[in-house]
């Protein structure tokens, strides 16, 4: 497993096609990991680009951390990761919470970001997004898995349920993630979003609860285009090739 040290913490990364001239960095979502890109999306992008995937802190196989889940800290981590990998300027893509990190990167480090692709980034002020963080319990996880993950077709067995439960318990009750997220609730209302100058692709599911967030960003970011893909919030899992091709076309456009 490729593990590098970033800001004193171990970070699991995966790199494809290191020889390519341009780099795409992809950021996964909360309670997920880099595998959301690893099997379908990254290999297609790697036919033309150097692709870098990494697990966020306390996710996947990266080291746990008690603090630093606000967008400032998460973008400090990503910027430091780019420095360790000697990446001066990259195309950046992010899914869900990773999309918020990507937006914040474009705001804070515009000179380091070429094109920007945002997949299903939610409005942090949305009740449903914050509700998940406020109301977590074992019963919630079981109910959630039973009722809301069926669109990805993957059912969790006992061992996986335990693994996920331990991760949720850790993130919700031992780390600062809840308070850090609370601080970000006005992010979409912030004038800083309007300062984003990069060419930006917004990919949202036609049946997603987050589609309005995509429309909101489309109205705020001057150089943005919104594409609605059949599916819900899980479009990278439901339609990996559609997402991969949309990303590849977007990054290749001159």
């Amino acid at each position: 497993m490729p593990i590098i040290t970033v800001n004193g913490k171990s970070v699991h990364i995966q790199e494809l096609n290191k020889e390519a001239a341009e780099t795409i960095v992809l950021v996964h979502g909360m309670f997920s990991n880099l595998s959301v890109y690893y099997f379908n999306i990254a290999p297609l992008l790697a036919t033309k680009y150097h692709v870098v995937l990494y697990d966020l802190k306390s996710h996947g196989m990266s080291e746990k951390a008690l603090e630093g889940y606000d967008l400032e800290s998460m973008t400090n981590d990503l910027f430091a990761l780019m420095e360790v990998l000697n990446l001066q300027k990259v195309h950046l893509g992010g899914y869900s919470f990773g999309g918020l990190i990507a937006l914040k990167m474009a705001i804070r480090f515009p000179e380091s970001i070429n094109k920007l692709a945002i997949i299903e980034a939610p409005d942090p002020n949305d009740d449903k997004t914050r509700g998940i963080i406020d109301e977590y319990s074992r019963e919630f996880l079981e109910h959630y898995v039973e009722n809301f993950t069926d669109t990805t077709k993957v059912k969790m067995g006992k061992r996986q349920m335990e693994r996920n439960h331990r991760m949720y318990e850790y993130l919700f009750y031992q780390t600062s993630i809840k308070t850090d997220m609370e601080l970000e609730k006005d992010f979409f209302g912030s004038p800083a979003i309007e300062t984003i100058k990069q060419s930006t692709l917004l990919l949202y599911g036609t049946d997603s609860n987050c589609l309005n967030a995509g429309k909101h960003l489309d109205g705020m970011i001057k150089n943005a285009s919104l594409i609605a893909v059949p599916g819900d919030h899980n479009i990278p899992i439901q339609q990996p090739l559609v997402i991969a091709e949309a990303l590849l076309n977007f990054f290749q456009e001159i």
Partner: protein, 98 residues
């Protein structure tokens, strides 16, 4: 990278896969399972996607350039990935060796 060049039999590949699975999910879970070539990764072995990433990395590290395991997986859709079993991987590795 400890790449190999000798051709493995299907039983040797199966044992190697079992060793990788044990390294990824831990001996205590493997002891409770009856791993066979029909065992599917998600349903029977209950491996999640990040564990399958670890497993893939082990195959890549072992066989090196000899096989394009990630490329092979990337040609599969979600249903195929969910139904992926050990026998399919053994056949794929055997094909690459021939």
């Amino acid at each position: 990278m400890d790449t190999i060049t000798t051709k493995l039999s299907s039983e040797e590949i199966f044992n190697l896969m079992k060793q990788f699975i044990t390294e990824v999910i831990g001996e205590e879970f493997v002891e409770e399972m009856d791993i066979t070539p029909e065992s599917s990764f998600t349903k029977d072995l209950e491996m999640d996607s990040i564990e399958i990433v670890s497993f893939s990395e082990k195959i890549k590290a072992h066989f090196g350039e000899q096989i394009d395991f990630t490329g092979w997986l990337s040609s599969m859709d979600l249903d195929q990935l969910i139904n992926l079993n050990l026998g399919m991987i053994i056949s794929y590795i055997e094909e690459c060796q021939s």
